[in-house]
Symmetry: C2
C-alpha cells in the first residue's frame, strides 16, 4: 500500500489529508461515526502519524470531529446533520463575502471618505504613531436594495497609499489582493448590541425600539500588518454570529 493522495502539488500534506477526510466524512464514509485509528490512517495515506495528527487537529478545531484518548476519533454528529451552518463558522472576514446571499454581493454606497489624523484609539489598534494619518471610510451596505449595515473603517495611509473614492466604493480586499498580493486572513472582533440612534434608524430603516448589532474589530493581513479598524452597525436582524468554541489546551 502506498498512499491514496491526489496531492495538487504545493499544498501541504496535512491540508490535503484534512480536506480529503472532511469530504469523506461528509459523504458518510464512516457510518458508525468512528474514524480509523491514527496509525492506520498514517499507513493508508502513506504519511507519518505526525501529519495525520496535524490534519485531525485542524478538524477538531473546526468542530468536525472530536477525539477521545484511549477510545478513538469520532465524527461530530452535528456536522453531518447541520453542516450548512458550519460554513460560516469562524469566518467573518471580508464583509462582502460573509454576507453574500445566493451569490449576490452587497452593494455599497460611499457616504464619506477623507483623511484624518489617527485618534489614540486608532493608533493603538493599528500600530500607529502620533501624527500618523488614516483614511476614514464610511459606507452603507445594502443587500438586494435593503440597507443592513453602516460601516466606518479606518485604514492607515502608509499601508494603502493609493486609496481613492473609486476603490473604496468597491471591495478594498480585492484591491489588496490584486495590487499587493496580500490576503486578509485574521481579525479580532468584538460583538455587541445597542439601542439604535437617530442615524441608525434613518439609514437602516429601524423603528425607535429596534436595536443595532455592533461588530467592531481589527483586520490583519497575512503578514500581520493591521489593515483596518472597523465599526459596523448592523440592522439587528442581520446580526447572526456563529461560533464553535472549544476549551481544550488552555
Amino acid at each position: 500500500m502506498c498512499g491514496i493522495l491526489n496531492n495538487i502539488m504545493s499544498e501541504a500534506i496535512y491540508v490535503t489529508v484534512q480536506a480529503d477526510l472532511k469530504q469523506k466524512i461528509y459523504q458518510g464514509e464512516f457510518p458508525n461515526l468512528k474514524l480509523p485509528d491514527e496509525r492506520s490512517l498514517a499507513e493508508q495515506y502513506g504519511v507519518s502519524r505526525s501529519s495525520i495528527k496535524r490534519a485531525l487537529n485542524v478538524l477538531v478545531q473546526q468542530g468536525v470531529i472530536f477525539k477521545k484518548r484511549g477510545s478513538g476519533t469520532f465524527v461530530n454528529p452535528l456536522y453531518l446533520k447541520n453542516h450548512a451552518i458550519f460554513q460560516h463558522e469562524g469566518s467573518n472576514l471580508g464583509v462582502s463575502d460573509s454576507f453574500r446571499v445566493d451569490g449576490q454581493a452587497p452593494s455599497i454606497e460611499l457616504l464619506d471618505f477623507q483623511v484624518i489624523p489617527a485618534t489614540p484609539e486608532q493608533q493603538q489598534a493599528l500600530f500607529l504613531n502620533d501624527g500618523d494619518f488614516v483614511y476614514e471610510i464610511k459606507r452603507l451596505r445594502r443587500l438586494e436594495g435593503v440597507p443592513f449595515m453602516i460601516e466606518r473603517g479606518y485604514v492607515p495611509i502608509n499601508v494603502l497609499p493609493g486609496l481613492n473614492r473609486s476603490i473604496v466604493s468597491g471591495s478594498v480586499y480585492e484591491y489588496i489582493e490584486k495590487t499587493k498580493h496580500r490576503t486578509v486572513t485574521k481579525s479580532f472582533m468584538t460583538i455587541m448590541a445597542e439601542p439604535s440612534n437617530l442615524e441608525d434608524q434613518q439609514l437602516l430603516e429601524l423603528k425607535a425600539n429596534e436595536p443595532v448589532g455592533i461588530m467592531e474589530g481589527i483586520f490583519f493581513m497575512d503578514d500581520g500588518t493591521p489593515l483596518e479598524f472597523s465599526t459596523m452597525r448592523l440592522h439587528y436582524k442581520y446580526l447572526r454570529y456563529n461560533a464553535f468554541v472549544s476549551l481544550d489546551s488552555e
Copy 2:
C-alpha cells in the same frame, strides 16, 4: 544554561511554556514586541524546538502573537493594551465561569423547572428521538445583585436522570464534573440581538427601547454527548463577545 521552567508537574511542557510566555508578554518583557526566534527559545527553556512551536501556535490561536516566516514572531499590540478582553476570548462555556467577576460567581434564581416533551427543534439540537423528554430550566442570573441574564436551558432526562430543583439552583456543570466525571468543553453558539419584550424589561430592568443580546447554543460534554440546548437573553450591556478569527488552513 539549562532551562528556566518552574514546571508544576503534570502540566504538559508546551502548556507551561505557553503560560510563561504569555505572562512575560503581559509584563512587557519584549519591549520591541518581538520575541526571540524559536531556536533560541528552545535553548532558553531547555526544550525542543517542536515544543516551542507548539506553545507558540497556541498563542497564535489565541491571538496573542503572530508569526511571520522569515521575519520573526511578534506580540499582538492589541493584547498588551486590551488583554482583559482576551480573557474571555473563545471561552463562553459555562456561564458561571464566563461571567465571573473578581472571583465572584453570578447568583442564580430558579424561575421554573419541569419536564416536557422535546420540541422538534430540541430533538434536532440534542440528538433526540420523538417522544423523548427534556428538563426545562429557567433561571435568572445576577451579578452583584444586578440581573443580567434570563436563561432557558433544555437538558435530556436520559443524559442527567438525577436532576432536581436543588442541583439546578446551582451549577449544573459542577454537578456533572463531580458525579459523571465529564467536563463540558465544547459549544456551538449563535449570537443575535432583539428588541426586548415585556418580560425582558421586567426581569432585566431594561427601558422599552433597550434591547437584549441573545446567545443560543448547544453545549457538549467531552465525549461528544450533547448536554444542553440553551437560550440566554442578556442585558445588552453584558453582551460582549470577543472572537479571534483566523482563516488559515481551510
